[in-house]
């Protein structure tokens, strides 16, 4: 599967505890919201990175096995990951699920990082990470009925406002988003 990480850490060949020690150091240099890819060969690193991320508040996205190499994806905790929405048009997960079930002509825009999207997303969703939205907005139709999702509703709020500024007329922010999504999902 294709996904981009902001920083790649090579911890191959290192035995416990070094993969986590290096991950922690690397994380200090990331901006909030950025994604770290940790490449490791220590089998125990999978459960430890997950548990470490949970204990520190970072978001463990998942692990991909490529031969001997385990690639772990962790997103650094944002400073304000809880939703305080400002975009006026807000909807909830259930509403979006109903819309999808009715096969209405809508666009689901997922503005999380590609590595987050890769591990779980709504089957028809289009992925444009928030940081790329401005330059890629032309991929979208300005009149389309767009539902914007992220993990908790925060990034999608910023994205909704940005799209509105750019002249999009029918944009709805979905709250809380993928962290609570119970509908259909797929992986890359």
């Amino acid at each position: 599967m294709e996904m981009s990480a902001n920083v790649i850490l090579d911890a191959k060949g290192l035995a416990c505890p070094m993969p986590i020690v290096r991950t922690k150091q690397a994380m200090n240099n990331l901006e909030p919201g950025q994604v770290l890819e940790v490449q490791a060969t220590d089998q125990g690193s999978t459960s430890d990175i997950k548990a470490w991320a949970e204990s520190t508040g970072h978001q463990f996205l998942g692990t991909v096995e490529e031969g001997e190499v385990l690639k772990h994806y962790v997103r650094k905790a944002s400073r304000h990951d809880s939703a305080e929405t400002k975009h006026p048009h807000v909807s909830d997960n259930e509403h979006l699920e109903q819309k999808l079930a009715a096969v209405e002509k809508i666009v689901v825009l997922d503005v999380r990082e590609s590595a987050e999207y890769a591990f779980n997303h709504i089957p028809t969703a289009l992925n444009i990470p928030l940081g790329e939205l401005e330059e890629r907005a032309n991929e979208l139709n300005k009149e389309a009925e767009i539902y914007v999702v992220c993990r908790t509703g925060n990034r999608s709020d910023v994205a909704s406002r940005k799209l509105t500024q750019l002249g999009f007329t029918n944009v709805t922010n979905v709250v809380p988003g993928m962290s609570q999504w119970t509908g259909k999902m797929e992986k890359l």
């Binding site: 035995a15 416990c16 505890p17 070094m18 986590i20 020690v21 125990g44 548990a51 470490w52 204990s55």
Partner: protein
């Protein structure tokens, strides 16, 4: 300063001597909850090493100063790091050499008794996992029963004792650990016996072990009588050694009985299990010394570290042997089952010869506690 390493053998002695030890287990919480070093007088603190990367100040107060302290992790790397950090903070602690990986593989030979004409019976206590294997030595020959995959321990032990391994037996097809039986037989030229009803899918040659078989060890004829006792598996077979010891496999333990569900047939096998425990065993002498293939809790260990008790004692005290109502028995052994052992299907296939995982993978498959009993 270099940090003191404690070996699995030393920790085993502490378990058997019921010594006091404070264990700082720095694996993640799930691993600790699933499986840890058990000792009657051991105290524990579980803090994952990755929560201590910035320092151990937060736990210094929680570590007693009047007890020996052992830091434990999965493979030893993290425990060395944390023991060094404790040392810098003025607390002396050892680490477990090789971590839980080595703990899981350590075998402690304990002599359980003699057989006629100078022979001996040894129990190999796999303290970290609760598996028990046996070696019967008589007159320069040895038989091994329910061997674990650490085959060199058995081969070296027999060599030290000057005995040639002539027979290797498994009481049943194991689902909780990988058998070393076939490998020992290959390396030593011994005969490998398996109950044929458990071996219908195996991919290798074996000698069919059936009720009534008599296997002779040594010139002075120490006999192993096979007794068909299904229930844990359909082929499960017990052995009476030298008319004195009853090797029960996974049918009867000291403080519990075998579970009938690890081949997916709890409902079918519960009747067999009851028949074996409540009829066939009842016909045997109560003086027989029961030697099971597992222990579940360290309280089952005797003073000398062995796991053994008279059959008559178990008839009186083992709560699995005192359920008079058949319906209640059925309910208990089919409804109250603990989680199944880690990777038990893969372990069964490995023991059938259908899979040949490498050593690292075998280790991983066996990780975790033993779960062969209904308690």
């Amino acid at each position: 300063m270099t940090i003191n390493a404690m070996t699995a053998k030393e920790v085993t002695k502490m378990v058997m001597n019921k010594a006091a030890l404070f264990i700082l287990d720095v694996r993640n919480e799930d691993s600790f909850r699933d499986w840890k070093i058990e000792g009657e007088n051991f105290d524990y603190l579980n803090i994952p090493y990755f929560e201590l990367l910035d320092g151990v100040e937060s736990i210094v107060d929680k570590i007693p100063t009047d007890k020996e302290v052992l830091v434990v992790c999965a493979k030893e790397g993290s425990s060395i790091m944390i023991a060094e950090m404790l040392d810098e903070a003025g607390i002396s602690a050892s680490y477990l050499e090789g971590g839980m990986k080595v703990w899981s593989e350590h075998l402690e030979p304990v002599k359980v008794g003699d057989v006629k004409n100078g022979g001996e019976v040894y129990q190999f206590v796999r303290i970290g996992k609760g598996c028990l294997s046996y070696m019967i030595i008589s007159d320069g020959e040895a038989a091994i029963i329910d061997a674990t995959r650490m085959v060199d321990v058995f081969i070296d032990f027999a060599e030290e004792k000057g005995a040639k391994i002539t027979h290797v037996l498994d009481t049943h097809l194991h689902a909780d650990h990988i058998s070393g039986g076939r490998k020992i037989a290959e390396k030593t030229g011994a005969t490998y016996w398996l109950p044929p009803k458990d071996a219908s899918e195996v991919t290798f040659d074996y000698a069919p072990l059936e009720g009534g078989n008599v296997i002779t060890i040594g010139l002075t004829a120490i006999n192993i009588h096979a007794l068909y006792s299904p229930g844990h598996t359909i082929g499960s077979t017990s052995f009476i050694v030298d008319e004195n010891y009853l090797l029960t496999g996974d049918i009867l333990f000291i403080d519990s009985i075998g579970r009938p569900d690890l081949a997916g047939k709890a409902e079918d096998w519960v009747g067999d299990l009851r028949e074996s425990l409540y009829t066939r065993y009842r016909e045997l002498s109560e003086e027989l010394i029961v030697l099971p293939a597992h222990f579940m809790i360290v309280e089952e260990l005797n003073e000398d570290g062995s796991v053994a008790a008279k059959l008559g004692t178990l008839f009186a005290e083992n709560h699995g042997l005192t359920i008079t109502e058949e319906d209640e028995f059925r309910k208990i052994v089919t409804e109250n089952l603990p989680p199944q052992p880690n990777a038990y299907q893969e372990i069964r296939e490995t023991n059938m010869g259908k899979m040949s995982p490498d050593e690292e993978k075998q280790r991983e498959m066996e990780i975790g506690p033993n779960r062969c009993a209904v308690r």
